[in-house]
Amino acid sequence: MSLRRSLTARVTLLGGVALMCLWSFFPIYWMIVSSLRPERDLFAPPTLIPTSFDTGFKAYWTLLELTDYPLQFLNSVMVAGAVVVITLLVSVVIAYVVTRYRIPGKTIIVGSMLYAYMFPPMLLAIPLLSIFAGLGLADSLWSVIAAHCTLTIPLGVWLLWGFFKVMPLDLEEAAMVDGCTRAGAFFRVVLPLSLPGIVTVAIFAFLLSWTDYIFAFVLVSSDSQKTLPVGLASILGTFDARWGELMAGATLIALPLLVLFTFLSRYFIQGLAAGAMKG
C-alpha cells in the first residue's frame, strides 16, 4: 500500500516515523546515557544530553566483576539457538499438517497448547522440574531448552497457522502435478512463500528464550549452567546498587540482544521482504 507522494503525505509520513522512533528509542537512550554518567552527576538535576562522560565505564567494570558474564552469555545463546531450531521444526510441521489434513479434534489439540500461557510460570516450573529430575535432566540446560519450547511452540504453531491457512493449495497442487512429492512441494513452494512467518517465529522464539527468567532460575542450579537473566538478576537485587550501576546492568542484559539484532536485522528485513516479491 503506498501513499501518493504529495508533500503533506510525505511530511505526515516522516513526522509519524520520527515520533515512532522517539517513542521506541527514548527510554533505551536514557538507560545507556545514565549508565555512562559519573556517579556524582546522577544526583544532580538530569540533562537530556549528558554533560560529562564516565570514560572509565566504572559501573560496567564493577558489574562484570560480579558475574560470569561471558559464560552466562554463551549459555543464553546456546539455549536460545537450540530453542529456535526445535521450535521451527516442530511448529512448522504441526501448523502445516493442521492446515492441510483432516485431523479430528485439531482445534482442541492446538487450543490446548495455549494452556502453557494461561498459568503463572512459577506454578508450572516446579512440576516441570520434577519431570526433568525424573528424566535425569535436573540441572542441565536441556531442561531449560525443553521448558522454553513449551512457550515457543504454541506461539509458532498459531502464527504459522495464520500464514499457511491463506496460502492457496493450487500452488502445491501444481508443483505436485509437475512431479514433486508432497514434501518437495512443501520445500519448494510453501516454505519460501511463508518465509516472513518463519522468520517472525524464529525471532520471537529467540526472544522468548533469551529473556526468560523463571524457568531458567528454577530448573538450573549450578553457576556453570546459568543464563544471562538469572546471572544478572542478583545484581539488580543487590542492596547497594545505585541507579548508575542498575542502568549498566540493564544495558549489559540488553546489549547482546541489540547487537545480535543489528546483525540479524538484515535477514529479518529480507525475510519480511521476501513475501513481497511475489504478486
Binding site: 556517579e39 544526583f43 566483576e65 560480579l66 560470569d68 559464560l71 554463551l74 545463546v77 546456546m78 539457538g81 537450540a82 531450531v85 526445535i86 512459577m122 516450573a125 516446579i126 522440574l129 520434577s130 526433568f132 529430575a133 525424573g134 535425569g136 535432566l137 535436573a138 540441572d139 542441565s140 540446560l141 536441556w142 532460575f217 528454577v218 542450579s221 549450578s222 553457576d223 556453570s224 538478576a233 542478583s234 545484581i235 537485587g237 543487590t238 542492596f239 547497594d240 546498587a241 545505585r242 541507579w243 546483525f263
Partner: protein
C-alpha cells in the same frame, strides 16, 4: 571460576567458536542428544558433592564461601558446590529443589518461619549439638520441639543513623521521643533535602525500617496464646500514636517512599538527600565505599518511644539449615568445620552488617582485626550494647509470640501495617480506623 565438568559437557569445545551458525547448532544438538541417549548423566563416581544454596549475592560473601569450599575440598576431598541466588528467591528455590527430588544439602533462609515449615515437614536435620557448642545472643535461636534446625549467621538490627554535622549546625540533640524526632526531621528538611527516609510500601523494607518506633513504644502484637492484641485498650493507643507520628513525619520525607526499597534509602543517605536513615551495619559499609567523608559525620541511635523512656531496634536475621538428604552426614561435617573455621571469614564479608549472633566472636581477636571493625569501634560497641542491655527492646513482626510459629509470619506477609501507614498518610484516614482495618487483616490469618 566454576569449572565445567567434562562428563556433563553439553557441547564439544570446538563448537563454541561459531555460535551463530545454524548448522553447528543442529550438529551440536544432535551430538548432545546422542550423549543423552547414551545415558551420560553426571557420574561423579568417587567425588562426594555437597550442594549449598547461598542467599548472600555480594561479591565478598560469594568469595568467602568459595574460598571455604576450596579449602574443604583440599582437606577432605569432598566438593562443595555453591549456588547463589537473590535473597528473595532462596525460599522458592529451596522448595522447588525439594519437591522435585533434587534437594540442596545446605540452604540459607532469611525468615525463621521458613525454617519452621521445613522442619515440621521433616525436611531438616537438627544441628543442636553444633548450636550448643557456643553462647548466643537473645532472640536469635528458634528451637522447634527442643531441637535446633537454624544456625544463624547474623543479626540485622535496624536502628537510626543521622548526620552529626547537620545536628551540630542546627543545635539539635539526639531525640528520645517521637516529638523530638519529628522536630529534628522538620528542622533538617530544607533546600531540596529531607529529614528522613522511611519506606512506606507493602514490602519487607517498610516492615524492617519503619516500625521500630512501635516496639519502643511498648507495642506487643500477640499474646502468649497468639491472640491479637493491637486493637485492645492497651495497645490501640500506641498504634494510634505511632500512625499520627508517621503522619507528622510525612512532610520531612522525600516523595516516592512507597516505591522505596532497602537500597533506595542507602542511596538517599549516601547522596546527602536525607539527614536520617534507618538501617543496619551495611549503611556504614556503603558510606566507607562511596561517601567516606560522610562516614565520619554519621552517628546512630535507636528508635525512641513517645515518652522518652524506652528504645528499640527492629529484628531480622539470616541462618543456615541442613536438609535431610543422602549427603546429610557429609553436610553436617562440613557445617561443623565451616562454623568452626570459616564463620569469622564469612562474617567479614560484611563486617558491620553481619552482626555476630554468637557471643564468642566479639572477644575473638581475629574478628576484631578487621579494619572496618577497628575503625568503627564505637558503632560496634553500640551494636553489642543492643545485645547486652536488657532495656533495649528487640522485636519484629514475624517473631512475635512466645515461640517461633507460622502465624506471625503470615501476619508479616499481609503487609497490613504498610497498608495502615499508607491509609493514614496518603488517604488521611483517621488512625483508629486504619488500626481496625489492620486488625481485621491480621485476624483473618491467625
Amino acid at each position: 571460576m566454576a569449572e565445567q565438568d567434562s562428563s556433563k559437557a553439553l557441547i564439544p569445545p570446538s563448537a563454541t567458536t561459531d555460535t551463530f551458525s545454524r548448522r553447528r547448532v543442529i550438529t551440536t544438538a544432535a551430538t548432545g542428544a546422542a550423549l543423552m541417549a547414551l545415558g551420560a548423566p553426571a557420574v561423579h563416581a568417587q567425588t562426594k558433592t555437597i550442594r549449598f544454596l547461598n542467599a548472600e549475592p555480594s561479591r565478598e560473601s560469594v568469595r568467602a564461601l568459595r574460598v571455604a569450599a576450596a579449602e574443604y575440598e583440599k582437606q577432605t576431598g569432598v566438593k562443595v558446590v555453591v549456588d547463589t541466588v537473590p535473597p528473595d528467591d532462596a525460599y522458592s528455590k529451596l522448595q522447588a529443589s525439594l519437591s522435585s527430588g533434587t534437594p540442596y544439602d545446605i540452604g540459607t533462609l532469611a525468615f525463621a518461619g521458613h525454617m519452621l515449615i521445613l522442619a515440621e515437614a521433616g525436611k531438616l536435620v537438627p544441628m543442636t549439638k553444633l548450636i550448643e557448642k557456643s553462647k548466643w545472643g537473645p532472640r536469635i535461636l528458634f528451637p522447634v520441639k527442643g531441637e535446633h534446625y537454624w544456625y544463624p549467621y547474623d543479626y540485622n538490627f535496624c536502628w537510626m543513623y543521622y548526620r552529626k554535622d547537620l545536628y551540630q549546625q542546627k543545635g539539635l540533640k539526639v531525640p528520645t521521643t517521637f516529638e523530638q524526632m519529628a522536630e529534628n526531621c522538620k528542622a533538617l528538611t530544607e533546600g531540596g533535602k529531607f529529614g528522613v527516609g522511611h519506606p512506606l510500601g507493602a514490602n519487607s523494607a517498610t516492615q524492617w525500617m519503619s516500625i521500630g518506633y512501635l516496639w519502643a513504644d511498648g507495642l506487643k502484637m500477640l499474646d502468649d496464646n497468639f491472640k491479637l492484641l493491637i486493637d485492645n485498650a492497651d495497645m490501640k493507643p500506641r498504634m494510634i500514636r505511632y500512625l499520627d507520628f508517621m503522619k507528622k513525619l510525612q512532610p520531612s520525607m522525600p516523595p516516592g517512599m512507597t516505591q522505596a526499597l532497602f537500597g533506595t534509602v542507602l542511596g538517599q543517605y549516601s547522596g546527602g538527600q536525607i539527614a536520617h536513615a534507618p538501617y543496619a551495619g551495611r549503611l556504614m559499609e556503603v558510606l566507607e565505599d562511596r561517601a567516606p567523608d560522610l562516614a565520619g559525620k554519621t552517628g546512630f541511635f535507636m528508635y525512641p518511644d513517645s515518652a522518652g523512656k524506652a528504645q528499640a531496634v527492629n529484628h531480622a536475621s539470616d541462618g543456615w539449615v541442613l536438609l535431610n538428604t543422602p549427603m546429610r552426614d557429609e553436610a553436617y561435617k562440613f557445617m561443623e568445620w565451616f562454623t568452626e573455621r570459616h564463620y569469622i571469614n564469612f562474617l567479614h564479608s560484611a563486617p558491620l552488617h553481619f552482626q555476630p549472633p554468637r557471643l564468642d566472636v566479639y572477644e575473638d581477636a581475629r574478628w576484631r582485626a578487621h579494619p572496618l571493625i577497628e575503625k568503627h569501634a564505637e558503632l560496634v560497641e553500640f551494636m553489642r550494647g543492643i545485645l547486652s542491655n536488657k532495656d533495649v527492646i528487640i522485636r519484629s513482626i514475624d517473631t512475635e509470640g512466645p515461640r517461633i510459629d507460622l502465624r506471625p509470619g503470615k501476619m508479616f506477609e499481609t503487609f497490613a501495617i504498610s497498608e495502615a501507614i499508607q491509609n493514614r498518610l496518603l488517604k488521611d484516614m483517621p488512625a483508629a480506623e486504619a488500626v481496625d482495618i489492620m486488625a481485621k487483616k491480621y485476624r483473618a490469618v491467625l
